[in-house]
């Protein structure tokens, strides 16, 4: 009781100084909370991008190598299954499997895998690895359709046409919890059933369904095969999902050009580790098992995500963190100096207390109590400032976006402009994608606890400096100063 009374009265006597110290700590704490909240918001945004790319439950993704753009074979022949378009003063010619014809007015389409194939046996090998809980194969395909104008290739004719691309994902219907559909929400229809593993059925993305005016029961054509739409799904906002999902077995049976997959091949493996701590080990094991394929984890994928979300993450992690640390150090130093100064002014008081029998420890506890009380006030105000800072960031922060690198490669078309300089167009693979990411700074209980701990630590540090001075104080000296 006496301790509290003395502490309260002393703080009231030094009200201005106490407020100054508490505010100094509060600004530091507020900045830490704000930066942590912004950083958590950015991390959450990044995580939402990554989880949508990965799907819930997927820890590691294995993809086949990126295919290189198709090149004419020696002697000017087109690679098997490849298509070459050449222009001449008399018009454009399409050569496919050695057969050439005038391109003008023609529509050609080609289904290509986004990555080189991985044998199905390798999916089983991955599933058997230590620390792997589950593994499922997937087949990412792109269908490119291109229609050449009638005057294409002629002098003064139309420019090379832009292909329409349809991204198709073959999903393992036996592993619904793994892979691209695990993170999607069904808006109408139903998901794949075990009985539909070899049926010509499709689930379409809601965006593609809207643009193509598709409903459950509609039909779409992929590689000349008609598929019935059985469901429509919506993926998280931050993703750029495939347009169509079809059963893996059906996807494997489609014709896929010169980079075509054989029966049972996949080009993606979705892997779940037994625990988060095992992810690096799983990544290492798979890299050893499949040295030519690309093994990515959320962490490695995060390093490839660029755009303003990455810049914001960098800003929060670098500038924000160091700014908060600097302000905290300044606040700690200020609190320490002011406490030392207060102790210096109270030398007579402490000397008297020592003279009447107070142990140094008792005086130190009293001074520490005062400093910690200022720290607690600083923590409360600082957390409030942090919430305000987070709210301001939420209101004024520009919209973030994530630039996700495409799969690259996979080209099967080549074109050459009739006017001379070669123009190479790669069709296939996926282009870089820019995804809008909402930033919602979030303050967790952990951050609030950290803030309180930091403020109390600031008070303790300040109090310890003062205590060091008290411990060194000889009562006779202290009393002589009063006299």
């Amino acid at each position: 009781m006496f301790f509290v009374t003395y502490l309260r009265r002393e703080l009231r006597r030094r009200m201005r100084q106490a407020i100054f110290v508490a505010l100094g700590l509060a600004v530091g704490i507020g900045l830490v909370v704000t930066v942590s909240a912004a950083s958590a918001g950015v991390k959450k945004a990044e995580a939402s991008v990554l989880s949508s790319l990965y799907g819930v439950g997927t820890d590691v993704t294995v993809t086949g190598s990126a295919p290189q753009p198709g090149k004419p074979t020696a002697g000017g022949q087109t690679p098997k299954g490849g298509t070459q378009i050449s222009g001449s003063p008399s018009g454009a010619t399409i050569c496919q499997d050695g057969k050439c014809e005038n391109a003008a007015g023609k529509t050609i389409s080609s289904l290509v895998p986004e990555y080189l194939p991985i044998k199905s046996a390798e999916v089983a090998d991955v599933a058997r690895l230590h620390d792997v809980l589950a593994a499922a194969g997937g087949l990412l395909l792109t269908e490119n359709t291109i229609t050449f104008p009638k005057n294409f290739g002629q002098s003064g004719g139309s420019a090379p046409p832009t292909p329409n691309t349809l991204s198709v994902d073959g999903v393992d219907t036996g592993h619904a919890a793994l892979g691209p559909l695990s993170n999607a929400s069904l808006t109408s229809g139903h998901s794949f059933t075990a009985a539909e593993s070899d049926a010509d059925v499709a689930i379409v993305d809601s965006g593609y369904a809207t643009s193509g005016n598709l409903k459950v029961g509609s039909t779409i054509t992929i590689d000349s095969v008609k598929f019935t739409v059985i469901g429509i799904v919506r993926q998280p906002q931050s993703t750029s999902p495939p347009d169509v999902y079809i059963p893996l077995e059906v996807a494997q049976a489609l014709k896929t050009g010169p980079l075509g997959v054989e029966t049972g091949d996949v080009n993606t493996i979705y892997v779940t580790a037994t625990s988060a701590a095992d992810i690096p080990a799983v990544q290492h094991e798979i890299t050893k098992l499949l040295p030519h394929d690309t093994v990515t984890t959320a962490a490695s994928l995060a390093s490839e995500v660029t755009g303003s979300v990455a810049s914001a993450a960098k800003l929060a992690n670098d500038l924000g963190k160091w700014l908060a640390v600097l302000v905290l150090i300044a606040a700690f130093a200020l609190a320490s100096l002011l406490t030392m100064s207060a102790v210096a002014r109270r030398v007579g008081e402490f000397g008297t207390l020592k003279a009447i029998g107070w142990r140094t420890r008792q005086i130190v506890v009293q001074v520490l109590g005062e400093s910690v009380a200022m720290g607690v006030v600083g923590a409360v105000v600082g957390v409030g400032l942090g919430f305000a800072g987070a709210a301001i960031i939420s209101k004024v922060a520009p919209k973030l976006s994530a630039l996700i690198p495409g799969a690259g490669g996979g080209g099967t078309f080549q074109s050459q402009s009739v006017n001379g300089g070669p123009v190479s167009r790669t069709i296939g693979g996926s282009p870089d994608r820019t995804i809008p990411v909402p930033l919602h700074p979030s303050i967790t209980v952990g951050v609030i606890l950290l803030a309180v701990l930091l403020a109390v630590a600031g008070g303790l540090v300040a109090g310890l400096f003062g205590s060091w001075r008290i411990a060194k104080l000889r009562p006779a000296d202290a009393l002589s100063r009063v006299a």
Binding site: R12, E349, I356, W358, R359, T360, L479
Partner: protein
């Protein structure tokens, strides 16, 4: 009983060594009132600090009831101060943010006393110095005399055997001075305290049983009104005034 033997206290001031007390032999009986006079800087306060265990002698021993204070560890010395020695200062040294009762209570904090006993002791101490009705007043709300009375209550609340007063009337007017000295005299008598009082005031010193003057670190006894025969060893002083 205090017994000082060959006590010297030196201070280092820059490169100079300044003797504050020199080769002092002194015995102070239990229940004795000793007044110490002397000019500023001649060692009066240093002597009081040595008696109160606030400082340690450079040479010699200061014994209180047979315990060599200079040989005690700091915690033991603090314990002696907390239990056995009361201090009164010229500037009162009250804690400005605490009331009279809380200032008195501060002296009981180092002791293990129950809250009820503590309250009773505080009330009794304030009553004994005539400040029962001022318990809730802050030092700034009291006169100098009342502040010194509070300081006396703080010194006595722990029921010490020794009371050390360093110019307790130095900041007070004559009437208040007389009141305070009368109060100290009454308390000294009633409680059988050993009182060592440093003062510049000869009229105050005359009321003590024994009075001496500190000069250049030496104590010379000028007055001895103690009743009854005194053993030779108990009248030892560092330097006897040739005039006495």
């Amino acid at each position: 009983m205090y017994k000082l033997t060959g006590v010297t206290k030196l201070y280092q001031k820059g490169r100079r060594t300044v003797p504050a007390v020199r080769d002092l032999d002194l015995v102070i009986e239990d229940g004795e009132w000793l007044a110490v006079q002397g000019r500023t800087g001649h060692g009066k306060s240093t002597l009081l600090n040595l008696l109160g265990g606030l400082d340690r002698p450079t040479e010699g021993t200061v014994e209180l009831d047979g315990i060599n204070l200079g040989a005690l560890r700091e915690t033991q010395l603090t314990r002696v101060r907390a239990e056995s020695i009361g201090f009164i200062f010229q500037t009162f040294n009250l804690i400005p943010t605490l009331s009279a009762a809380e200032n008195v209570e501060a002296a009981l904090i180092p002791l293990s006393i129950t809250a009820a006993a503590r309250r009773a002791r505080i009330a009794a101490a304030l009553e004994s110095v005539g400040l029962a009705d001022r318990a809730a007043h802050l030092p700034s709300e009291m006169s100098g005399g009342q502040q010194q009375r509070t300081a006396i209550a703080r010194a006595l609340v722990k029921e010490p055997t020794v009371l050390l007063a360093d110019e307790p009337t130095g900041n007070l007017d004559e009437d208040t001075r007389d009141d305070i000295i009368a109060l100290l005299e009454r308390l000294w008598r009633d409680r059988g305290l050993t009182l060592v009082l440093v003062t510049h005031d000869t009229s105050v010193a005359r009321r003590a049983q024994r009075a001496g003057v500190m000069s250049k670190g030496h104590l010379t006894i000028k007055q001895d009104n103690r009743p009854g025969p005194r053993p030779e060893s108990h009248a030892v002083t560092a330097a006897h005034d040739p005039a006495t």
